[in-house]
């Protein structure tokens, strides 16, 4: 295969994987504490809109910050209803996503006109790391990404450290394994779970920002198109471990990017089948993943 196609393919894989990686890393924090948040899709969506509005007013930095706040807020609603008030997590998460679709659609049309005029934002410039970006293949793929791409990769070891090397992480995982035991040991279950869920939401917001500011360059209604749900599956595939999650996300990026490659190779398969592929792969991969792994015991309760 020509190097140009390979580099294009790998770069696309990484670009597609970035929002998934961010969202999944955040979701893993909550899930380690036994919280499964289907609202991650909604948090990503409002994050994407906040990034769009923030960036169109005051530049991309404001956009990124606004996205983090928006994602964290959406997850705060989720946490309030499911963790504090004790309602079912799955249904609460579905409701939060539904509400996010409504809020983002309404605000978007109010803000950018009734037809939602197609606006285009300048995407974040790639930051080339000296020397490393000169290496063949890996240089253009890994070392000339947008800032958010680097954030996604750096978040992996950071969250790993948070979960497995800090007292907070130990307590969180204790809650995820047995709420009752953790409570008896003096852990404030509701507080730590809420914190974890909101942190996860901040990551989801960031994922939305990376979708808008590093990948697409514009906002469209429901543009997350299930990426948040795929991120939840990626957490399972990555076995609740940040390293595994990074790998699973990259795998997904590759599956998704394969359509660009096939198009470049003139293989005539209707494009809709490529759109289906990542979702089908996710479902099948789940079958392979579960059974060999142990989920946090309190997950969903």
């Amino acid at each position: 295969m020509e190097t140009a196609i390979l580099v294009g393919f790998l770069a696309a894989a990484v670009r597609v994987a970035t929002p998934l990686m961010l969202a999944a890393t955040g979701e893993a924090i909550g899930q380690r504490g036994g919280v499964i948040n289907l609202g991650v899709e909604g948090a990503m969506l409002v994050g994407a809109l906040a990034a769009t509005i923030g960036a169109s007013i005051d530049g991309s930095t404001t956009g990124v910050l606004a996205a983090i706040v928006a994602g964290a807020s959406a997850s705060a609603v989720f946490a309030l209803v499911s963790i504090v008030a004790g309602a079912d997590q799955i249904i609460t998460g579905t409701a939060v996503t539904l509400g996010a679709v409504g809020v983002s659609g309404t605000v978007y049309r109010q803000y950018f006109g009734p037809e939602g005029a197609g606006l285009s934002l300048t995407t974040l410039d790639p930051v080339r790391i000296p020397l490393l970006s000169e290496t063949p293949v890996l240089g253009p793929v890994l070392f000339s990404q947008s800032v958010l791409g680097y954030v996604a990769f750096l978040a992996i070891p950071a969250v790993w450290w948070l979960l497995f090397r800090t007292r907070w992480g130990l307590r969180l995982r204790a809650v995820g394994e047995s709420r009752e035991a953790a409570r008896v040991a003096g852990v404030r279950v509701v507080v730590i779970r809420t914190t974890a869920a909101i942190a996860g939401g901040a990551f989801a917001g960031l994922a939305g920002a990376s979708l808008v500011l590093a990948q697409v360059g514009t906002f469209t209604e429901q543009m997350t198109a299930g990426r948040g749900f795929v991120a939840i599956a990626i957490v399972v595939l990555g076995r609740w471990n940040p390293m595994g999650i990074a790998l699973a996300a990259l795998l997904f990026g590759a599956a998704n990017a394969s359509q660009f490659m096939f198009q470049a190779m003139d293989i005539l398969i209707p494009y809709q089948f490529f759109l289906m592929l990542p979702y089908l792969l996710t479902i099948l991969a789940l079958a392979g993943a579960v059974g060999h792994v142990t989920a946090p015991r309190e997950l969903g309760r």
């Binding site: 008030a85 249904i91 409504g102 579960v290 969903g300």
Partner: protein, 356 residues
């Protein structure tokens, strides 16, 4: 009936009304904050939903039918402890099958053609959940996630169908041809509401009967309450019951898609459903999974959907704004039930099984 017991019986209804009122209030505040005239918007919403007999029968009720049918299916699965979040995809699977049948049964007598269309739709819905059911029973894959992900596959499949095998004859528009007259569901005189509404109400009765008056329904609810409760009742085949609950649930969602093709749109196109599969979750939860209640809440949400259209036309408020109401209603209903049996049964099923 003494006063307290009357109050107790009316409590679910009061909670439901309170939830809707809270949701509407929430949306009004939001609209004001976003700079819309909320009173104009609410007036338009009311007119579009209940303003006239025609509005009620031909807008509200037409939208209530799919919500009720899908809501019944969601409730049925959840009574057995299974979360079917994939109704949207199953609806589309049913719609695709119904369209295909509806285009090919021109020579058949009317009732047979119509029934064939319904059957195909229900089968396709069931087929669409077959993979999640298999993965759930064989590998323990959590059905909420697998069914949810299949929604996106269904959307792409519809997109392919209306631009490929099922595209209308001229090949210009991304939609199918209209199905033959024989396969269409007759309309109630003077309205645009099809007679499928009668089937819908009958389905509620059947589901109520199965859940409450048969041993099978008792076992299903036992499985939904928890493994220990099921064990107490003796020989209950949990996985088999769960599979059956999911299959019936998906068949209902597929049938709703068939109703939509056979009685409303007569043709397949993208965005056929304005999110019925998700709205129906609110419908079922607000009714606390009670089949009779689902008829009422289905009409209520049908009104909301119908009013949303009027709101967009007359007050310029995007119709997606009603999703906010729906989300608020789900949350209020959840909070009101947080200590109830619903919360327990759903909570148990919620990913306890992800990794087992």
């Amino acid at each position: 009936m003494t006063l307290p017991s009357a109050l107790k019986r009316a409590a679910p209804l009061l909670i439901a009304l309170g939830a809707v009122a809270a949701g509407a209030l929430f949306m009004m505040v939001g609209l004001e904050l976003a700079g819309y005239d909320s009173l104009t918007a609410m007036a338009a919403l009311w007119r579009g939903a209940f303003g006239s007999w025609y509005a009620f029968s031909s807008a509200t009720m037409v939208r209530a039918v799919p919500l009720i049918v899908i809501g019944l299916g969601f409730a049925f699965a959840l009574q057995g402890g299974a979360l079917n979040i994939g109704a949207e995809g199953q609806f589309y699977a049913g719609a695709i099958a119904a369209t295909w049948v509806g285009l090919h049964v021109g020579a058949w007598p009317g009732p047979v053609a119509m029934l064939a269309l319904w059957l195909a739709a229900a089968l396709a819905g069931g087929l669409w959940v077959a993979l999640p059911v298999f993965l759930k029973v064989r590998y323990g894959v959590f059905e909420a996630i697998s069914t949810l992900l299949l929604n996106f596959v269904a959307l792409s499949l519809v997109s392919y169908m209306v631009q490929g095998p099922l595209q209308e004859a001229s090949g210009i528009y991304p939609q199918s041809d209209q199905i033959v007259r024989a396969a269409r569901i007759p309309l109630i005189a003077g309205t645009r509401l099809h007679w499928g509404i009668v089937v819908t109400v009958s389905l509620a009765a059947v589901i109520w009967f199965v859940l409450n008056k048969t041993l099978w329904g008792f076992h299903l609810r036992a499985v939904g309450t928890g493994p220990s409760a099921a064990a107490v009742t003796g020989r209950v085949n949990g996985p088999k019951l769960l599979a059956a609950a999911l299959l019936w649930s998906a068949a209902l969602a597929g049938l709703a898609g068939g109703f939509e093709i056979g009685g409303v749109s007569y043709a397949l196109y993208q965005n056929l459903s304005p999110g019925y599969g998700f709205t129906a979750i609110a419908v079922a939860l607000l009714a606390r999974l009670n089949p009779w209640g689902i008829i009422l809440t289905g009409v209520l949400f049908g009104a909301l959907e119908a009013g949303a259209g009027a709101m967009q036309r007359d007050a310029g408020v995007p119709s997606v704004a009603v999703y906010v109401v729906e989300a608020a209603v789900i949350v209020v209903a959840l909070l009101a039930n947080a200590s109830g049996a619903l919360a327990r049964s759903a909570g148990r099923s919620a990913v306890a099984q992800v990794g087992t």
